[in-house]
Amino acid sequence: MTTMIGDYGLVFRAIVCIAICAWAALLAHMNISNFNDGARPVFPEFIEKRMTRTEFATVVTGMGVGWVASGISTALSTTFVATGLTLIATDIIGVWSPNKWVALVAGAAWGAACTFGLETLLMIFESLPYNFLIHMTSITTPVLPIFCFFPAVAVAGQFGGKKGMATGIVQAVVYVVCALIKKIVFGDFSISLQANAFAMLIGMVMLVRYAVTAKSGEEDYTDADEENVFTRNAQRIKGNLPYLMVQGALHALGIKILSQAYQPIILFNAASTGDYTAFYITMVANIIAFLPLIVSTALSTGVYQAVGLTTEFLVGALAPTWWLAPIFGAAVIFLEVQFVGMLGKLLSKFPELRLSGDHIRDGMAQTLSLALVIGSALAAYAMWSGTGLAILGVAYVLNDSTGQRVPKNAMGPFACVGIGLIVNILTVLGIAL
């Protein structure tokens, strides 16, 4: 038995993960949906036969490889199989596959490899003389307290330093007050004031307020040609609705039973404490952050995002029982697809909202990146005090200065695995630390 959290057994999780990967690879093969937002605009090159399958698949593979490395590092620090590991790979599998059956079978094989591979790896690590997995999860410890300030970073980026500082200060005050009071009690009824969640919430409220009241720049325009393309593509996506609804159902079920994670590090905090508030708020921000990118790439290509506007993960996690999750997931995909054309028109009226998406994603990336460095330092120190920190430090800096061959966010966790393995070797050799 590993340190895996959650109430659902390995077999159930494996079956769902296999189904998710098989289906996602099939839909990528059929040019119905894909996960990597960057690869999506290349699909028309292939659909309209300006690229051969090999050329196309090579481009998609090149864009995805770093993600898979990062997915493995996330899996080691959270025990979750996350979308970076599953769906980036199924994009690649789907586009290389010569026909539908190969896509389905190879996708399923990848799903099985993810679940059982991770389970095996965790079991091996746990059976080592020095079990460093306990320390690996401390990589996620500093995440929420730092990540929850992403709205301040986003505001600073979009509306300038002064408003960014103001947002940061308000967030910090809310954070400290909540942390001090902890709980409000009215007789039998009590609300726990989770500092991370409330600070994040007030920050998002301020960001949205700034975005709505900001002096809007010039209104976006679309020429008649583009308008036709958008309308045709919205129709193409609607035509694939049954396929997409099945996918939405699978993903919502996947997150409910923790078979496939999205925003894995935030989800890990939620699942291990049982308090999902911060995860829900993160997902709302995530939907706002990705909506402009997903809607515009979907409308300009006719290929939908494999996880939709990510609302399926929010409703999947919110579902009270596991069997309701897929129903919720299919329902939100149905709604998204009905409104995708309308959302496109709405976005061109509010260019500030498009910018907000970029800045929220930047804020999330920057805070997460810092948190993972600090978290890795905590883990390295717990495993091997000063020497651990030294190894982590040199690995991180060297990787950075030699062109980041390992993605920046994955380097810390990988260094920690390395430190854990060295400590094991020394333990076996009988060398006391």
Binding site: D37, G38, R40, V59, E226, P351, R361, G403, Q404
Partner: protein, 123 residues
């Protein structure tokens, strides 16, 4: 003078780096939502589009590929691969790209060589 539109996750950071290292006579920086920026490049009102995202080829170039076409766009750096200064120069000189995508974490290393290479090309 070059007109460069900076977009995506690191738009503000790119603008700061360019304005710090190049004179106003050399480069003018625009920060706009990506759809507007790409249209300006298409109509010739701006010369180049710089996009940034987590992956380099991800959201950074999505709109540019859709509007300018894939052949006009270059994925300069990818997640896990950041080119050296000489490689940047070769890539810029070797193609005729209008839009460049890069990983947001690589901006500090790539922007100066990229702008230098573009200035040289347009001399």
């Amino acid at each position: 003078m070059l007109k460069i539109a900076c977009c995506g996750l690191a738009a503000t950071r790119m603008k700061m780096i360019i304005e710090k290292n190049f004179s106003k006579e050399e480069v003018e920086v625009l920060t706009l939502p990506d759809t507007q920026a790409v249209r300006k490049v298409k109509s010739g009102e701006a010369d180049y589009f710089f996009g940034t995202c987590h992956t380099g080829g991800g959201g950074s170039l999505a709109t540019a590929i859709a509007i300018l076409g894939y052949s006009n766009c270059l994925v300069l750096s990818r997640y896990g691969y950041c080119p050296k200064e000489t490689e940047v120069k070769e890539k810029v000189a070797g193609g005729n790209h209008k839009a460049f995508g890069m990983v947001e974490g690589h901006v500090d290393k790539l922007i100066i060589p990229l702008v230098k290479a573009l200035l040289e090309k347009n001399k």
